[in-house]
Assembly symmetry: C2
Homo-oligomer: 255 residues x 2
DNA sequence: GAAAGATGTTTGTGATCGACAAACACAAAT
DNA sequence: ATTTGTGTTTGTCGATCACAAACATCTTTC
């Protein structure tokens, strides 16, 4: 396994920093960005006008902003995910049946990426949005996926991302996480019990393709007041497992 | 008005070419991309590993692909558009009431960018997707927006983008376009009569904010068989104008 | 099973190119 | 009118990036 060495292209790194800055600052002028990334105005100016020529950024009355070209590339990347099309419908049904928030997510670069979010009639407001990135260890979706990874791969991810604490219930110890993943594997689905946001519980099941490779995960999230007892222990898991099953069967079929 | 000169950063240009290549080729290896962009393998390799480190691309069994980080930036950019939130609901209602496809779009870099697409019960399949980019001159949405631009701005856009022919009905002459925009302005809404796809008609109205600046446009599209007579001349325009009106009123309100 | 032909990756090197700093143009504010 | 912000442009030198060629792995092929 190579460690992804290779020489880096400094200019590209700078351009990426500038994009990050544009987002953090929610749009900004040349000087502001130059200060933020610690470079000269001239340099930043050249990068921004190059990005502008490539239509990746937009200029609105002396403020540069992230351009909608990213949405073009992003939707392309989203649709490229195998099983996305069928997942969309399945997740909608799941949201409807449960009345809660239903999600579909895939792993990328050691974090979870939310691809589909559908709201049922009683859905609570969750912060996640399409493309949102969250740590894997503190969500049911993430743990569902991690439970299908090899121990080495999980170790690698922990090494690079750590186990940042989100609430008092967040798992922050390696051993504890591995125990949880073991139980998840036995069960076939994962729980998140206020580990990312207090008051919020979640049930998720991994979606595995025909080769045994994990594609992503489906979940339902909701308030602790409704996520308890039999519903939390049996009904919701069943719905979620069912959804995961349908997605993986549909994904195996050619359109 | 400056012509957006400035020195360009060659490495960033190359990185953008590589991203375009990744998309056109729908994922590819180093050699393939190197040939496609006409550079050495080594150079391309360095760019790709830099992009990988920045999590903008993904590597799947010896193929690099556009990463989902673009979706993150893209959704951010989409939500940043003023009036997006209220437009979402309004467009959904419009799709439901009309039973057709309803869209919301904004202009960027001289092209139209589709931001919202909702399908009614009888909706035909249209190719557009969130983030999709199309020329302005051959869609009702585009012409609705152009009708609100100054003549100089329209000239600029034509100069840089041309008037590419999509169907036999596409307007390819400057004068003809300006005539159409004039009529559109008088009417208050725009028509697309098979100008982008044969068999498809469309009605669109511009969304103008409180300062008189055009924000974007709303539309309904459907087959010629249903888009004719009174419905095409009166009913649909009324629905669309109404939707545009609601969006601009909501946009003016603080959340 | 060895050799050939693909990959992706790494290295040294010289020419290019990009960052800096400073000057410039143009605002708005004092 | 002067000051203090912008964004933009320029000359210059040192860093850096692309090339080419070698290297490491794989398949393929005979």
């Amino acid at each position: 396994m190579n460690q992804n060495g290779g020489r880096s292209v400094k200019s590209v790194d700078l351009t990426c920093s500038i994009l990050r800055a544009l987002r953090e600052l929610d749009g900004a002028g040349v000087t502001e960005i130059a200060n933020h990334v610690g470079r000269s105005k001239g340099a930043v100016h050249n990068h921004l006008s190059t990005l502008h020529r490539n239509e990746l950024v937009v200029k609105e009355n002396d403020e540069y902003k992230i351009g909608l070209k990213f949405l073009d590339y992003g939707t392309y990347a989203k649709r490229r995910v195998s099983g996305y099309r069928s997942a969309k419908e399945v997740v909608r049904d799941l949201a409807e049946e449960s009345g809660e928030v239903a999600n579909f997510m895939v792993e990328e670069h050691g974090v979870s990426v939310y691809l589909i979010k559908e709201r049922g009639d009683d859905a609570v407001r969750t912060a996640s949005y399409e493309g949102d990135r969250k740590p894997l260890h503190c969500t049911a979706l993430g743990k569902a996926v991690l439970s299908q990874f090899s121990k080495e791969r999980v170790e690698e991810i922990i090494d690079s991302r750590g186990l940042p604490k989100q609430t008092d219930a967040t798992i922050t110890e390696r051993d504890e996480l591995f125990d949880d993943l073991e139980r998840t594997r036995e069960r076939g689905y994962a729980y998140d019990d206020e580990e990312i946001r207090s008051g919020l519980r979640c049930v998720a099941a991994p979606v595995v393709d025909s080769t045994g490779e994990v594609q992503g995960a489906v979940s339902v999230s909701g308030p602790i007041s409704r996520f308890k007892g039999d519903r939390f222990r049996e009904e919701l898991p069943e719905l979620v497992l069912d959804a995961a099953n349908v997605i993986q069967i549909n994904a195996a079929m050619p359109d």
